[in-house]
């Protein structure tokens, strides 16, 4: 989903090529302030509860200067860095999904009326979000959710309103975490599109700078307000090199070649039993996954029975009730639920929406309490396909 303004900007800039501007940390603060002045709720990384979280912030001083977050299978540790980097980590548990497709929201409220019922008009104003520090994987994830909610037979109006109002400041990734595998998914470490502004942070002894580029007219306009100078060629090259190093330094990878067919074929593979022995069916992976979109719907009424509401909440294919139909649940065993998740994400998703549902952000690896690693499970299934009938 692209705003009309964005498309115009892309066309308009085609000839001029993207200009790279130089921003100081102070200028970044001005950028954030400008977003707040425009009435945006600015969502940015900040330290909270011993972790880096993406939350509403009111100033650049709330960003996690000098922090990093070490991610490994089943672990996530907040640590100090030796410098004052503002984006010296990659992802937290939350992604754009938490704001564009929130964990719970009211679908409608209704009231009994003359023997029937009527839907009450929505009073609340829709939030306008500006996202600061969005990683390339999460931009790719948002594009996937756009496909689900906006480009099918039906459109999710709430999602569309939030999405169209959003302003995105992306940050290219120069220091991937151990759990990252975006390079193999083709989604990072450089953001290709889907941002209004993209930043590369350069932190070296003696200098701390950002190279900024506009992706849309709105982004260019905002950058123009900052009176930034053109980034020197040397700095742009340094930024490029940092991104190349980032891509080649990623240790994890997921080989997607022929994976759809392979997963459909390995439906009965004994390896699913092996995963099932470890999987707790806690649903963490689906909650932190930036593309997982499943929801349930709950209808409630007040004690008088005069007023009713419908709420939509995130749901997970790891719960037993998820597949319940009259007579029982279709997927009773943990094995079948893990298989459903992985096969949906990497195979059925391709049939349904034209791309896999994984962007290589690695969240499901870090936030799995027992450290199940999607890249390893795929590798194990590949190995099984190679060695077993």
């Amino acid at each position: 989903m692209r705003k009309r303004a964005r498309e115009t900007a892309d066309q308009g800039q085609a000839g001029a090529a993207r200009r790279s501007l130089l921003l100081s940390p102070a200028a970044l603060g001005e950028l954030l302030a400008a977003l707040l002045r425009r009435g945006y709720t600015v969502i940015a990384p900040t330290v909270r509860d011993g972790a880096i979280c993406y939350e509403p912030v009111n100033g650049v001083e709330e960003l996690p200067a000098g922090y990093t977050m070490e991610l490994e299978a089943g672990s996530c540790r907040l640590k100090r860095r030796g410098d004052e980097a503002l984006f010296g980590y990659v992802v937290g548990a939350k992604s754009l999904k938490n704001y564009l497709h929130p964990p719970e929201r009211r679908v409608f409220a209704a009231e009994r009326d003359n023997g029937l019922f009527r839907i009450l008009p929505e009073q609340t104003e829709r939030p306008r979000f500006a996202f600061l520090g969005v990683r390339p994987c999460d931009l790719a994830a948002a594009a996937i959710q756009d496909r689900v909610f906006l480009k099918d037979r039906y459109q999710d109006g709430e999602y569309r309103a939030r999405r169209e109002a959003a302003f995105v400041v992306a940050v290219h990734c120069t220091e991937p975490a151990a759990t990252c595998f975006c390079a193999s998914m083709g989604t990072g470490p450089r953001a290709k599109d889907g941002f209004d502004i993209a930043l590369t942070e350069i932190v070296e002894p003696g200098r701390h700078l950002f190279v900024a580029e506009a992706g849309t007219a709105a982004g260019a306009e905002l950058l123009a307000e900052l009176n930034a100078s053109e980034a020197p060629e040397e700095l742009c090259r340094a930024a490029e090199e940092a991104l190349e190093r980032a891509a080649s330094s990623m240790k994890r990878r997921l080989d997607g070649d022929g994976l759809r067919e392979l997963l459909y074929e390995r439906f009965e593979d004994p390896h699913w039993d092996d995963v099932a022995r470890r999987c707790l069916c806690c649903a963490n992976c689906t909650m932190v996954c930036p593309t997982c979109f499943c929801v349930t719907v709950e209808d409630t009424s007040d004690v008088t029975g005069r007023r009713a509401e419908r709420w939509q909440r995130w749901d997970s294919c790891f719960t037993q009730n998820f597949s319940y139909i009259h007579g029982g649940s279709v997927r009773l065993s943990p094995k079948s639920r893990y298989r459903q998740w992985l096969t949906h994400k990497l195979a059925a998703w391709v049939d349904q929406f034209g791309t896999p549902g994984c962007v290589g952000c690695g969240r499901c690896i870090s936030w799995c309490p027992v450290g199940i690693d999607i890249t390893q499970e795929v590798a194990a299934l590949r190995e099984a396909a190679r060695t077993r009938a």
Binding site: V107, F108, A110, R112, G115, L116, F117, R118, I119, V148, F149, D152, R153, Y154, Q155, D156, G157, E158, Y159, R160, Y264, F267, F293, C294, V295, T296, V297, D299, T300, S301, G305, R307, A308, R310, Q312, D315, C317, F322, S323, Y324, I325, H326, G327, V330, R331, L332, S333, K335, S336, R339, Q340, H344, A347, A348, D351, Q352
Partner: protein, 282 residues
């Protein structure tokens, strides 16, 4: 994909309709007739499609439309009371409101089956989504070859639409065969599962389109009979059931392999299902 895609929240918000009539079909199954509350005609539906029916403050669930598609002023549903939401639905009194979203999903391939024999195989409540197809064929009787309806139920007391079934049997080129799994002394009809009826019909596989709805186990065995008798997988259509919360492809619950039952189904040609149907815990 439709040209103008429909937008939430409207597609997630039910329209209040008035419950005009509740007819008891069997001890646990009821037919509900809904009429417009605001004078607006309900949206046209195709046989095989379903709606999401909402009981105020209680819940919402997918229910197949069982009425005549030509009767444009009302919507008719046949509901079996098996849980909290279905119980709430069938215990509403006439005059009360029922929320309706839809119709949703794919329909029986009636337009593409003109000139062919239509073989309908139904089990239990599975006859409900097939009744609109029967209405359609009977209304356009000359457009189709023979109409065969094979219907199985648990017991004689569980048979739906008995008077209609009896009457339809007198329509030319139309044969209605009924069987029950358990019969008492007063039941002089067939006893035995629905698949046993195949021995008593003459199928011309080349010109047969089969429409099947019932419990999944029943459908698997019916498909086997049809295939053995030479009907091709492309000409066998099944209506599938899965958990459903939204009916528009957003909630993810109704997935069946690569499909969403709500928008890719509920009616599928067996040729698209055969790779998935026998997979346990899919």
């Amino acid at each position: 994909m439709s040209a103008a895609s429909e937008t939430l929240p409207s597609v997630m918000v039910p329209v209040a309709m008035r419950l005009a009539r509740v007819e008891k079909e069997t001890h646990d199954t009821f037919t509900l007739t809904l009429e417009s509350a605001d004078g607006e005609r309900p949206a046209r539906f195709a046989p095989g499609q379903f709606s999401m029916l909402y009981v105020f403050g209680v819940g919402e669930l997918p229910i197949s439309i069982s009425g005549n598609p030509e009767e444009r002023d009302r919507l008719i549903y046949t509901v079996r009371s098996v849980g909290k939401a279905t119980h709430a639905l069938v215990t509403r009194a006439p005059g009360e409101a029922i929320g309706v979203r839809g119709p949703f999903g794919t329909s029986w391939p009636l337009a593409d089956s003109r000139g062919r024999d239509i073989v309908i195989v139904a089990g239990g409540i599975g006859l409900a989504p097939l009744r609109p197809a029967i209405y359609h064929v009977l209304r356009h009787r000359g457009d189709y070859g023979r109409l065969l309806v094979l219907y199985g139920a648990r017991s004689p007391q569980d048979l739906l639409f008995r008077k209609q079934l009896t009457a339809w049997n007198y329509v030319p080129d139309t044969q209605i065969l009924i069987t029950v799994d358990y019969g008492g002394l007063s039941w002089r009809g067939n006893v035995g599962v629905v698949t046993t009826l195949f021995r008593h019909i003459r199928l011309e596989p080349e010109r047969t389109t089969a429409l099947v709805c019932g419990p999944e186990i029943m459908m698997r065995y019916v498909v086997r009979e049809l295939l053995v008798r030479g009907v091709s997988a492309e000409d066998i259509y099944l209506s599938m059931e899965r958990n459903m919360k939204c009916a528009v492809g957003f909630c993810g619950h109704c997935q069946l392999g690569p499909y969403f039952v709500c928008k890719d189904g509920p009616v599928f040609p067996y040729s698209r299902l055969k790779a998935w149907m026998d997979r346990y815990e899919l």
